[in-house]
Amino acid sequence: MIQYIFRRLMYTLPLLLGVNILTFFLFFVVNTPNDMARMQLGQKHVTEQAVNKWKVEHGYDLPLFLNTERRSFKQITETVFYQKSIKLFAFEFGVSDSGRDIGADIKQRMWPSLAIALPSLLLGLLVNIFAALMMVLFRHSYLEFWGVVACVVIMSISALFYIIGGQFLFSKLLKLVPISGFGYGIDTLKFLILPIVISVVSGLGSGGRWYRALFIEEVEKDYVVTARAKGLSETQTLFRHVLGNAMIPILTGVVVVLPLLFMGSLIMESFFSIPGLGSYTIDAINRQDFAIVRSMVFLGSVLYVIGLLLTDICYTLVDPRVKLL
């Protein structure tokens, strides 16, 4: 097991290196640091000195790949590629273009993101599975038909409308919860409840349909027929056998996204002004802060790779037929 995990970890290295090279290419080769400096300093009347000063301040003044002025080892380490990209592997994010420490920012903003993403995921999962089970339990009836119709309708509405509509209805008209913001302690709940409910509702369409398809496929299998033939009631077969077996794909689907929860949801956080990583990223995009965007891209892919690894491990834990080689 440990050997397997180790080998998988080795396998992720080239993957992350690929991500790194790709982002490096995007950020430094397509547009040179000179371009970035001009962009940051404003378009007109930028002197050569100002550009150079900006580059020195932010550490972009080194050559891209190979520093011919230095000797031996330093030829490689004293370059933009090493300083800005390779150091990400050690989770040294450096400072943002506006001079803040990215690593500290991420650590601080991770928790609000998680506070909103984790409950929405779990609650959403429960609601989706329940809705799907209901539809399967009453299959070939009007309940199922209208359930599917409702799912398609919910699916067809952009998430933005749920947010705007929800904010308008519950915060502005009914004044039940604050429109946006974030608090700590007991206050948190007040701020979190609306975003969580909205994300559950907006995910219900596609989620419910997906789980329904999963259960329907499972329901037609032989072991379910056997269970029924044994005299188990429909609810018993459904909850004990079908749900149990459908758990494998459900669980693996969830585990992949678990690490990514730290990243938060871009739209939700910016609409409800929650100080999480999602709004951090959006702010960086709007301020055109390349250092932050680059770090977030890398962090996102690291988390995704971790998610994949966790999924594989989970497979073995839930499904005894799968063996890791």
Partner: protein, 438 residues
């Protein structure tokens, strides 16, 4: 133009599929699928009208307008000062108005165009609206009658039966309702702002119609960028295995592991930097907006091909062990020939299903991306931009709700019909589903 090409190629694609009559018939037998197809076609027609540009003198700054602009001239020529509610004859905000006597009054001024033909809006508006609606509806009805008559002429009595089979009653009814409704809206929009006006006084109805093209372009162009990548890589990886497979798998896992929103954001940022540093190549706003739209499609395509590629690879892996592929190999057919003749037709259904399923997702994605400012250019008409603007408008008092509702209605219809149609296509073409006769 792009749309035209794409729709033609869709047509060619479907023509090649003529051998698969059964799934097509299945779609035709599905009422909701046919209904949504008609509405989709209607959207497509509007988008096409909007894509055919020609030069007209003295119309706009750039002098280039589309056929749709030409048809809907009053819509974009009738601009007001600022917000106005749907069907309103008055402006949203109060102003000092100089009356005949020369004294100033603090009141809502009349609109320049919306309902300007009325002398006393309070009492006349309802009846005027109704009469306009009736004229519009009756015009549409007449058009329908003419259409039915024409159909009768062309089809003749003998083939009436077959015509009924391919064009059943409810299809005709839907088309008629659509035509009548559009005629009614057109008649109304000549004299009123159906969805009101926005901050700078532009007709929201016009913006909404123009946004159709943006949505369609993103949906279709992205697909056409994604398709070749996914198909070529997926089939090659599955067929050749070995290092080709490893390389392709490596590429798509790498791309996949970057959160797509961030990749899009990063790329759009880069385009912005590029445009800011090369202002000489982008002299006017329109070429800037066009480039950004094009690039957005490109990036969306690059980020979204991985899913389809993986599916195709898996399917090809299965297919290459099939008897007929092995036989072709033994008979000395070149690998390229096998790919083209034996593998590609057999993965066609996966491609088709993926394309229709992705379409609605892309339209939705556009709105979200535009909201985060990494979507289409702010000067492009798009539902995302309208929603983005509506965020501030909702905080006004009284609430400016019409741009949001307008974008919502049109986007909802487009995405819903696309979803329904996609479901029907999937049910019809997926062999696993059709086995059970569901």
């Amino acid at each position: 133009m792009i749309l035209l090409i794409s729709s033609v190629s869709i047509g060619v694609l479907l023509r090649n599929h003529d051998g698969l009559k059964r799934p097509l018939k299945k779609i035709a037998a599905n009422k909701s699928a046919m209904l949504s197809m008609i509405i989709l076609l209607f959207f497509l027609a509007v988008g096409l009208l909007d894509s055919i540009h020609f030069r007209a003198e003295g119309q706009r700054s750039s002098g280039v307008i589309s056929v749709l602009d030409y048809c809907a001239k009053p819509l974009w020529q009738h601009t007001e000062k600022t917000y106005s509610a749907p069907f309103s004859a008055y402006l949203y905000s109060k102003e000092y108005i100089t009356q005949d006597g020369g004294d100033k009054v603090w009141a809502f001024p009349r609109l320049q165009f919306g309902g300007s033909h009325l002398t006393n809006p309070e009492s006349e508006k309802t009846s005027d609206l109704l009469s306009l609606l009736m004229t519009g509806l009756s015009k549409g009805l007449m058009l329908c009658m003419a259409g039915v008559g024409l159909r009768g002429l062309f089809v003749g009595k003998k083939s009436e039966q077959s015509a009924r089979r391919y064009c059943p009653g409810f299809v005709c009814i839907t088309i008629s309702i659509l035509i009548v409704g559009v005629a009614g809206l057109m008649e109304l929009s000549m004299y009123y702002h159906i969805f009101g006006t926005d901050k700078v006084g532009e007709d929201v109805f016009y913006q909404t119609i123009k946004s159709i093209r943006t949505g369609l372009v993103i949906g279709s162009l992205t697909t056409f960028i994604m398709l070749p990548l996914a198909v070529i890589f997926g089939i090659l990886a599955g067929f050749y295995r070995g290092w080709v497979d490893d390389l392709i798998q490596y590429i798509y896992t790498t791309l996949n592991s970057i959160p797509s929103v961030l990749l899009i954001a990063a790329s759009i940022l880069m385009v912005q930097v590029y445009m800011a540093n090369h202002p000489e190549s982008f002299t006017n706003l329109e070429s800037r907006a066009d480039l950004r739209l094009l690039f957005l499609c490109l990036i969306l395509g690059v980020t979204s091909w991985t899913g389809l590629c993986r599916m195709l690879r898996a399917e090809t892996l299965k297919l290459r062990e099939m008897g007929y592929v092995q036989a072709a190999k033994v008979l000395g057919v070149k690998p390229f020939g096998i790919l083209l003749q034996h593998i590609l037709p057999n993965v066609m259904h996966i491609i088709l299903i993926a394309v229709v399923l992705d379409f609605s997702a892309l339209v939705l994605a556009e709105a979200v991306l535009s909201y985060i400012n990494i979507g289409v250019d702010p000067s492009t008409y798009s539902w995302g931009n309208m929603i983005n603007g509506a965020r501030l408008e909702m905080a006004r008092e009284p609430v400016v709700w019409w741009p949001l509702i307008a974008a919502f209605v049109f986007m909802f219809i487009l995405v819903l019909t696309a979803n329904l149609f996609a479901d029907a296509v999937r049910d019809a073409f997926d062999p696993r589903r059709s086995q059970y006769g569901q």
